[in-house]
Amino acid sequence: MITALTHLQRLEAESIHIFREVAAAFAKPVMLYSVGKDSSVLMHLAMKAFYPAKPPFPFLHVDTTWKFREMIAFRDQMAQKHGFDLLVHVNEDGVRDNINPFDHGSNTHTHVMKTVALRQALDKYGFDAAFGGARRDEEKSRAKERIFSFRNAQHVWDPKNQRPEMWKIFNTRIASGESIRVFPLSNWTELDIWQYILQENIPIVPLYFAKERPVVERDGMLILKDDDRMKLRPGETVENRLVRFRTLGCYPLTGAIESDADTLEAIVGEMLTARTSERQGRLIDRDEAGSMEKKKREGYF
């Protein structure tokens, strides 16, 4: 008989426990599905938690309209394969005003198309709990957040006044209009995620694997020219380079890395020698000091 669980088994059990707790204690939960590798792991864990039933909540994708085309294709493919209830929300006000990352900068774009859009969607459906794939090792304000993270009726996080979170006993009580953001992957690291994807053979968006792709070097980042909405600036050229992505977001805000890692093993091998953190490729964290905390307080995941 086994006596002690491995590191990954412990993480998996903790995440499954969290999923079930939300299903048991909340009236209307939803899972935020952002199509990235963490979302893929989250989805896999949700399937396990409720097997043989399907997860008893819908999956919500907040589409900024600037995601990589391959992400959208992968999203629809997963929804079809697993038969989960997929909701897609776009901030139509932002579309009307033509808010985009090129003209308005990452800050305004992210705020309108992601943070505000998310708040709209949560209000529209009246969700009282929302799962997200954030991990504590990603960023310093995330390292401080509870697994069950309280939001007031305006979706505001108050980092200085979080509920104590003891053992695995979660306080799921909220008043009407308030909600809880739930992070089942809180204690996973980037390496754990990859190791688990490898172990469980979890499908991920092909953009994570190295391939010749048309990229433009801009502001020190390699941006994939995913469609014609990206206009070249004077002096810029599109080059085909062997690249892949460590994280995925809006294509104009996500830098590629030059890499020949085209298998999961190679990705893990590359990670082990990495000298920079994964969020380094994300423009939105660098806008200003404490920018992630500020976005989170406003309702960003």
Binding site: M1, I2, T3, A4, L5, H7, Q9, R10, A13, R20, E21, A24, K48, F50, Y51, P52, A53, K54, R136, D137, E139, K140, A143, K144, P159, K160, R163, P164, E165, M166, W167, I169, N171, R173, A175, N187, Q195, L198, G220, M221, G255, A256, I257, E258, S259, A261, E265, A266, I267, V268, G269, E270, L272, T273, A274, R275, T276, S277, Q280, E293
Partner: protein, 645 residues
């Protein structure tokens, strides 16, 4: 900006080998605690740096921040790496617990970096609740401080059995062995009764790295392990698998009529397909038919695994119950003694009703007796009427429904609970069960043949508790008195419980502190309940200033029986009337804790009856009350005869 990644040179096979080795690594969860400025965050920064967990872009950001907010001159301020909130970096303090991750070739670690300030003790407790080991930091120049003791006591209460005594900033006392020895001696004396299995003292300088990962050349007199060596080798594994089987049922999975699975995480022990299990609260027995998992059924499962069990037959089990080993069952009781750590700025008040949550169960609970408060400096047991924020005490607790549990000392999962405020929903306290109270086991409800309904029918009325709340002098007693006379005249059986009168007898021993006010209301509510049970219409005329206690009274009564009557007279008017001359004295400071003056009144938000008295006569109020009561009785009669549906 670097966006070029090192080429992946390692062949696939060696990656597989590496991952296989990772897979076998054990995990240690620990926290750093101790007083403010003892260097907790600096130590974690040092650990992350020494184990190569800090990436280049993070290091660049750290150098920037160090120049802006740093407190270490030209050196990198590692504390800024973990103090992730803007407010923390600006104030140079840690407010909330941060979780950090690192690994060595031997182990993986999750560290909770917890705040030292007393006001953030609850965040330290949060970090400690999931840890197996605590690094208690001490500033070599300061020695053992009040917060060192408080954190050690909380760590001990929360079940931590392994301590590293990190005597930090040893460079600032010239690496002096005598200083180190004295602190170790002090701490050993103090912690003798805290039940720690290991205490490993290490002299170190987190800032310069002495004895953190590398052995220090500055302390030839120290021959013990470095911090990393100790963390890699200390054995904290508790044989949870050896303990009796405990499976708190978290979620009943019922996708269709053919499948009914009980989902949850095994708290202790192991289960094999075919094993007998017992439902803790009912004592009913069944067998495990299947252990369902995503990739195919399991033959067996052990503590820590999140599984789904299917039983042989249709026994009644729901969330909050427990499936357990028939040979060693948990206790099931509604009264028990527990250690409580209090988190909220509103003190714990005996008699007030809170929501009690275990891992999967939930019921309401009151503290029936606060036995004593523990002085964190000398462990003295001090008499107390309430527990203030960050205080620790031992209490008797009474729950509305029995819960299944083990003593916390035997099982950290099934012996723990939290308390939640009914109104704010804040997590106000954490509890560790010591033992059940024997009286709970021996007192069973007498089932009586003559019931409430029969008694009320005989009086040709429906029982009710009309709860008058309002400021002193608002007119409660006048209206109550007139109302009773009118009911009496129509042949109704009534009784008035008046605040002042009850304080002459039943509640003679109670004063006017918050704690006594809560107990005052609790007793009156229980008496009112007995009287309603006897079939009476009870009029309670009590200031009852706290909504939490009025809610507790409401929950004691049957549905529809509790009628909250808000006698709403503005403060200025009450003070002007001042029938007993009390406002004049209170406003002069001669009476303390006077409602409306220096003690709050929480007005009801949704009373059944709202009497605005200004400009109205007492007779008009009474007519309104009688009308309301008649309407209720008619509605209920119709409902019962089916006429109203």
């Amino acid at each position: 900006m670097r966006h070029i990644m090192a080429k992946s040179l390692a062949p696939t096979d060696s990656i597989r080998d590496y991952l296989a080795a990772q897979e076998k690594k054990s995990l240690l969860r620990f926290l750093t605690c101790g007083s403010v400025d003892d260097g907790k965050s600096t130590l974690i920064g040092r650990l992350l740096s020494d184990t190569k967990q800090i990436f280049e872009d993070q290091l660049a950001a750290l150098e920037r921040d160090s120049r802006k907010h740093g407190t270490t001159g030209d050196d990198i301020d590692f504390a800024l790496l973990v103090d992730g909130l803007e407010a923390e970096r600006e104030q140079g303090i840690t407010i909330d617990v941060a979780y950090r991750f690192f690994a060595t070739p031997k182990r993986k670690f999750i560290v909770a970096d917890t705040p030292g300030h007393e006001q953030y003790t609850r965040n330290m407790a949060t970090g400690a609740s999931t840890a197996d080991l605590a690094i208690v930091l001490i500033d070599a120049r300061q020695g053992v401080l009040r917060q060192t003791r408080r954190h050690s006591i909380i760590a001990s209460l929360l079940g931590i059995r392994h301590i590293v005594l990190a005597v930090n900033k040893i460079d600032l006392v010239d690496f002096d062995q005598a200083v180190f020895d004295r602190i170790v001696e002090d701490y050993g004396q103090f912690s003798r009764d805290l039940g720690f299995q290991t205490i490993v003292p290490i002299p170190m300088s987190a800032r310069y790295g002495d004895n953190v990962s590398g052995r220090s050349d500055n302390m030839q007199w120290y021959s013990g392990p470095t911090l990393i060596e100790h963390l890699e080798s200390v054995s904290v594994e508790e044989a949870a698998v050896e303990q009796p089987f405990r499976f708190p049922v978290q979620y009943v999975n019922r996708p269709n009529l053919d499948f009914r699975g009980f989902a949850g995480t095994i708290a202790s022990g192991a289960i094999v397909q075919g094993d007998e299990v017992v439902v803790a609260k009912s004592g009913k027995s069944s067998h495990v038919k299947r252990i369902v998992a995503h990739g195919g059924d399991l033959k067996q499962a052990v503590a820590g695994q999140a599984i789904t069990l299917v039983l042989d037959d249709e026994v009644e089990v729901s969330r909050g119950n427990m499936l357990v080993s028939p040979a060693a069952r948990p206790q099931v009781a509604d009264q028990f003694a527990a250690n409580i750590v209090w988190f909220d700025e509103h003190a714990l008040l005996p008699g007030r009703s809170y929501i009690l949550r275990t891992e999967t169960d939930q019921t309401s609970a009151t503290v029936t007796d606060l036995k004593y408060r523990i002085n964190v400096n000398d462990f003295a047991h001090e008499a107390a009427k309430s527990l203030e924020m960050n205080e620790v005490g031992i209490c008797n607790i009474s729950t509305r429904a029995p819960i299944a549990f083990d003593p916390f000392a035997e099982n950290r999962t099934t012996g723990a609970f939290i308390l939640i405020d009914r109104i704010s929903n804040a997590t106000v306290g954490a509890g560790m069960i010591v033992h059940s109270l024997r009286r709970a086991e021996n007192i069973h409800w007498q089932s009586l043949d003559v019931g409430k309904r029969v008694r009320a029918d005989m009086k040709n009325q429906r029982p009710a508790v009309l709860w008058f709340t309002g400021l002193s002098g608002s007119g409660k007693s006048t209206i109550a008195n007139l109302f009773e006379k009118k009911l009496f005249a129509t042949g109704r059986h009534t009784y008035i419980l008046d605040g002042d009168n009850v304080r002459h007898g039943l509640n003679r021993d109670l004063g006017f502190t918050d704690a006594d006010r809560v107990e005052n209301i609790r007793r009156v509510a229980e008496v009112a309940k007995l009287m309603a049970d006897a079939g009476l219409i009870v009029i309670v005329s009590f200031i009852s200033p706290f909504s939490a206690e009025r809610r507790m009274a409401r929950e004691l009564m049957a549905d529809g029986e509790f009628i909250e009557v808000f006698v709403d007279t503005p403060f200025e008017e009450c003070a002007r009337r001042d029938p007993k001359g009390l406002y004049a004295r209170a406003l002069n400071g001669e009476i303390k804790n006077f409602t409306g003056v220096d003690s709050p009144y929480e007005a009801p938000e949704n009373p059944e009856i709202h009497l605005k008295t200004l400009g109205k006569s007492a007779e008009e109020m009474v007519d309104a009350l009688e009308h309301w009561l008649n309407e209720r009785d008619i509605a209920e009669d119709q409902y019962e005869s089916g006429g109203g549906i």
